[in-house]
Every structure is written in C-alpha cells, then in structure tokens.
C-alpha cells in the first residue's frame, strides 16, 4: 500500500514536473549546417535548454516562408507555448499565426512588426563590423578589401557600410569591393567570388555567407579574413584575424526566463523589441569565443595607427578602447554617428546624432569607399 502510494506520488510528481516544463519551439529558415545563421540559432537553442532545466525545446529546419503558418499550426497543436520564428520572411505568417492563436507567445527574429503576443528580436553585428573594418583597413596593403555578400537587404548593407566606415577610418583611400552572390548558402559561388576579388587585388576579406569558404579560399593565397556568425578560427588559424560571433542564447534565455516568471505574457509584448548589441553580450568580436583578435595579428595592428581627434593612436588600442566602450552598459561611441554621407555625397546621417533604429533597419545607401553594384541604391 505504502509502496503503491509512493509510486503514485512519484508519478504525480513526474506529471507535475512534466506539465511544468515550458515548451519553446523554433522555426529555422535553412538547414542547421555547420557555421551559418541557422546553426547559430540552433546553438542558442541548445545552450538555452542546457541552462534552463524547466525548458523543453523543439525545432524544425529548412522551413520555406510559405510553409511557416502550417508549421505553426502543428507546433501549437503539439503544445508549444513559445514559438521563435528565425527569419524576416516569416513576418506575415507570424502575425497571422498570432491572431489565430492569441494565447501563444511568438518571437520574431529580425522582425519589425509586433502585436500583443508577438515580440521581435535581433542580435546585430554592425558595431563589430566597424571594429573589424578598422583592423581590415590596417592590414590591407593594396588598399582593397573584399566583401562577399549574400543578398542586398538592409541587414547586409548595414554591415557592409559599418565595415567600410571602419576601413576608411584607418585608410581614407581604401576601397571595399563588394560582390553579390545572391544566395545565403552556396560554397561554389562564395569560392569563385573570393577568387575574383583576389584577382582584383583584394587582400583582406569579410563576408556574409553560411560557410567558412571565403576564409578557406583567402587563406590559400595568404589573405586575411574575418569570420562570420560563428567562431571560424580553426578553418585558417594563421589568417582569421577576428570576426563576428553571435550568442543567441543570451536573448533566448532572457526572454524565456521572463516568460516563465510571468513578466512576458501573450498580452504585453507590443513593445518588447530586443535589438541587442555588444553591450548586452548578445554578440561578440572574435576569431573564437574569448579571442577578440588573433594573437598572431596583434603586433601588426599595434604597429598600424590612425588619427583620432588629432592624436595618433595604434589601431589595436583604438579597437580595444571602442570595444570596451561599446561593451559597457552606457556606450558613448557608435559607428553610425553623423555626419555621414553616402558614396554619392548625399548626407544620410546629419552631424550631431546617431542613426535611429529605424534608419539602421531600413538602410539602403552605400557608404563611401564601397565599390560595386548596389541593388536598390537610392538615387
């Protein structure tokens, strides 16, 4: 009898523990792969699950935009309480799903439209790109820096611009040669675009593509490069200078904790927008976790210098100072501080202020020094 009661209690306890788990479900736009956007989200999901014992997660990869709503239907049916949609293209589906399921909490990455049960979030790299641009400007001997770019959308344009501003801050004559490959994942295109840029004299590389191909290709010819999304040092230990690394788990853990604690409900997300940067630790600068600059290249950057406010400082010190500033709770520096003209000479950010969030999210212009086709460039 007592034993039976014990079993019963245990069973009840288990059921309670089970029922108490928060179920968060992730919709990925691409395959998880090895290094790109979706891989980074999946790392975030796994780390969040490891950090929060009460969390249960599910995911589905390679969901085309038009498929998102049926996937949400399924997820809701299976008891998902929080749904993370990790691509801009899911916007319409998220808003429609949110209307259909008012008690489910939705969070939309890179999104711009919210609702009582739809929050938006983004971990953005533009500050890191600026810092990497400083390093790139210092390291380029030819004054030509290559950028292999995925699709001409504001996020990518913002990153290229921040990078180019950094490059030009060190070397005002430098050019950032941009090549569009019109794909998020295509190693062959990334390789040949890099080869084309190498042939044109580029000797330092940054990119937006889901594989380390650009890094591998550049390293073969002895060119420096900067990793993207995930640590890529291991693919070319002698040539990866730094890079942009995202930590989605920082946002996921914060968000889910607040859901668990009842701070976020399906009624009060209208104004919940994470646009998290260095200061929130959602992104970091680095060739690897905790390695802001490859030690091999530190001396080179220490030797190079730039003029800040009439004073000569080493590029390395400048990067480290700005990094520290932007990681602090109240950063004073922002790469997009006016006056900034675009490459056609039009003033885009007037003197005395920083770019607004909206300006960042809808950036279409090209920074000075950017060379190459620029689809959608404002006249």
């Amino acid at each position: 009898m007592r034993k039976a009661l014990g079993v019963l209690l245990l069973a009840l306890g288990l059921a309670w523990a089970q029922g108490d788990k928060l179920k968060a479900c992730f919709i990925y736009v691409g395959p998880i792969g090895d290094a790109g956007w979706t891989y980074a989200h999946d790392q975030g999901r796994k780390k969040a699950e490891a950090a929060l014992p009460w969390l249960e997660t599910r995911y589905v990869e390679s969901v085309p935009e038009a498929q998102a709503l049926p996937v949400m239907d399924r997820f809701v049916k299976e008891g998902c309480q929080v749904i993370f949609a990790t691509s801009f293209g899911y916007m319409e589906a998220v808003l429609e799903g949110a209307r259909k399921y008012p008690n489910v909490i939705f969070a939309h990455a890179t999104g711009i439209k919210r609702a009582p049960n739809v929050a938006t979030y983004m971990a953005d790299f533009y500050q890191v790109y600026y810092l990497n641009g400083l390093a790139a400007g210092a390291l380029s001997k030819t004054g030509k820096v290559g950028y292999v770019a995925a699709f001409p959308i504001p996020e990518v344009k913002r990153h290229i611009n921040a990078f180019a501003l950094g490059v030009r801050a060190v070397n005002p004559k430098a050019q950032v040669l941009v090549r569009w490959i019109n794909a998020w994942y295509d190693p062959a295109k990334a390789r040949e675009a890099t080869e084309a840029l190498l042939a044109q004299g580029a000797d330092v590389f940054a990119f937006t593509e889901d594989t380390p191909t650009v890094i591998q290709t550049a390293a073969k010819k002895g060119a420096y490069s900067f990793g993207h999304y995930t640590p890529m040092l291991k693919f070319a230990p002698g040539h990866v200078v730094s890079g942009q690394i995202v930590r989605w788990e920082v946002i996921y853990i914060d968000f889910l904790k607040k859901v668990k604690e009842g701070v976020y409900t399906a009624k009060n997300l209208e104004n919940v927008d994470y646009f998290w940067l260095l200061q929130h630790k959602a992104v970091e600068m680095g060739a690897d976790y905790g390695v802001p600059i490859n030690p091999k290249h530190v001396p080179l950057l220490q030797k190079a210098s730039l003029t800040v406010g009439g004073k000569k400082v080493s590029v390395y010190d400048r990067i480290m100072t700005l990094l520290k500033d932007m990681q602090s709770p109240k950063p004073t520096f922002d790469p997009f501080t006016g006056p900034i003209q675009d490459r056609k000479g039009v003033v885009r950010i007037p003197a005395g202020r920083k770019a607004s969030l909206e300006e960042l999210l809808t950036m279409e212009w090209a920074a000075p020094g950017v060379v190459g086709d620029w689809p959608g460039e404002p006249r």
Binding site: Y185, R191, L197, P212, F235, D373
Partner: protein
C-alpha cells in the same frame, strides 16, 4: 587573364569529371539523372575517409561509393528495365538526403591536409583523353557505343548488353564520385550538407553541349568554369545589374548549344533493353 584561365580549369574540373561520368553511361544508352546525389554521397565518403585516414584514400572512397551507386542505379535502369529518368531523379534525392543524414558529424570540421587541386585537375584532363581512347580505340568502347546505338544488334553479335551497361555505370559512377571527392577534399576543403549546390545538374546538361564527346566535354566544363568565375570578376566593373552577370553563364551555354547545331544522341538513350521486343 591567367587567373581566369586557372579558375576555368580548377572550377571546371568537378563539372568535367561529373560530365564525363554521365557521358560514359549515356554512351551505353543509360541516362543517369542521379549525378547530384551520387556526387553528394561520394563527397561525404571521401571527406570522412580523408579525415580519418588519408585524403588519397578519401579519393578512392569517393570513387568507390560513386561506382557502387552507379551499380545501384543499374539494378533499376538495367536489370529491372525501369524508367531511367525517374530512377535517376529518385537516386538524386536519395543521395542528397542520405548524405545530409549521415554527414552531420563531419559538418564544421576543417580538413588538415587537403589535396592539391592541380593534381586532380590534371588527372581529370588525362581521364578525358583516356575516355576518348576508350571509346574509339578499344573493344569495350566499340561494345559500349554499339550498345548505346543499337542494343539489339549488339546482342545478336554476342555482346552482353546488360553487362556493358553495368560496366559503364560503374566506371561513370567512379568519375562522378571523383568529382564529389574533388569538392570536399580539394576545392572547399570541408564538407557541408548540400555542398554540390546544383553542379550535378549542370554536368548532365553539359553532356548534351559536349555532343557525347569526351574532348568536347573538356571544352564545355572549362567554358562553364570560366563564365562562372567571370560573373564575379566583371560584376560591378560596368553599370549592368549583378543579376545579369549571374545569368550570363547559363545564357551563353544556351547560345553555344544553339550555334553548335544538331548533336545526335546515342539512339538507344533512355530505352531499357528487352531482348524479346
């Protein structure tokens, strides 16, 4: 300029190898639409062996897996006399899918000692000449062509139609496998799901451009490699949208085909051989 020619060869090589592989079996009358999947699976096998053992062994593994998949296609396309087109498409899906499922743990792993592309490129070129000799200077080549043109006659002369077709699929599969190995062991060099990114389909199309001639396949593959590189080399240099440059390789392939005139496919291409008919 030299740069462009070098890219034409180095990016043309995997396309050339895969094209030669598809061409070989088509000469024997069997259409192989499974190239993309065969390449994908061979690239994985090559990478796995190359990482755990040695890249040279990796190439052998790629060739071996390619051959086995060729024989597997043969079970349907030759023995069962099933529809070759559907069997090939199914194999393409299966190969891509299986490589994605099996390869998870090799994603994101750098290859410490990649193979030099140049050596494999030279080998591919030699293989093209070798195939040319095989087709037109050897007994097997004669059998192969006769099986592709008129299997009934070949059968009457005592040639084993099924045997020759299996042989062609195995050899061709090996070449396709080598193309996959080139991608994961030399070109990238690492492995990711979907890394063949459609090159298999291009290779199949180039068989037609090559008019089923191995030496013309060299021209076709290098031409495609050149155009693929030039789209990025020229992008931005003139005020033409980047998308127009991206479309250029495909447009020029159509033009070359239209201008090069009528090429005749092997007569029995795509037809299963039934002795009774």
């Amino acid at each position: 300029m030299e740069e462009a020619l070098l890219r034409a060869v180095l990016f043309g090589t995997p396309i050339l190898l895969a094209s030669l592989g598809a061409l070989l079996s088509e000469r024997g009358g069997v259409v192989n639409l499974g190239v993309e999947g065969m390449m994908a699976l061979a690239a994985l096998a090559a990478f796995a062996v190359g990482l755990e053992a040695h890249p040279v062994l990796g190439v052998l593994a790629g060739v071996g897996v390619g051959s086995l998949l060729g024989l597997f296609l043969g079970v349907f396309a030759v023995s069962l006399r099933a529809n070759q087109f559907v069997a090939g498409l199914a194999l393409a899906a299966l190969g891509l899918g299986a490589s994605g499922l099996l390869g998870k743990r090799y994603e994101g792993v750098p290859l410490p000692n990649p193979l030099p592309e140049g050596v494999l490129a030279a080998l591919a070129l030699a293989l093209a000449f070798g195939l040319h000799l095989l087709f037109f200077r050897t007994r097997f080549g004669l059998y192969l062509r006769s099986v592709g043109e008129n299997p009934k006659a070949a059968d009457l002369f005592g040639v084993s139609v099924d045997g020759v077709r299996y042989g062609a699929l195995a050899l061709g599969g090996g070449l396709i496998g080598m193309a996959g190995a080139y991608l994961s062991l030399a070109y990238r060099p690492s492995w990711t799901d979907g890394m063949t990114s459609g090159l298999g389909w291009v290779a199949i199309a180039l068989v037609i451009l090559a008019a089923w001639q191995p030496l013309r396949a060299v021209f076709g593959a290098y031409l495609f490699g050149l155009l693929f590189f030039l789209q990025f080399r020229l992008q931005g240099s003139v005020p033409i949208p980047s998308e127009a440059f991206a479309a250029m390789p495909y447009l020029l392939v159509i033009l070359v085909l239209a201008l090069s005139g009528r090429a005749r496919a092997p007569k029995a291409l795509g037809q299963p051989f039934d002795r009774g008919r």
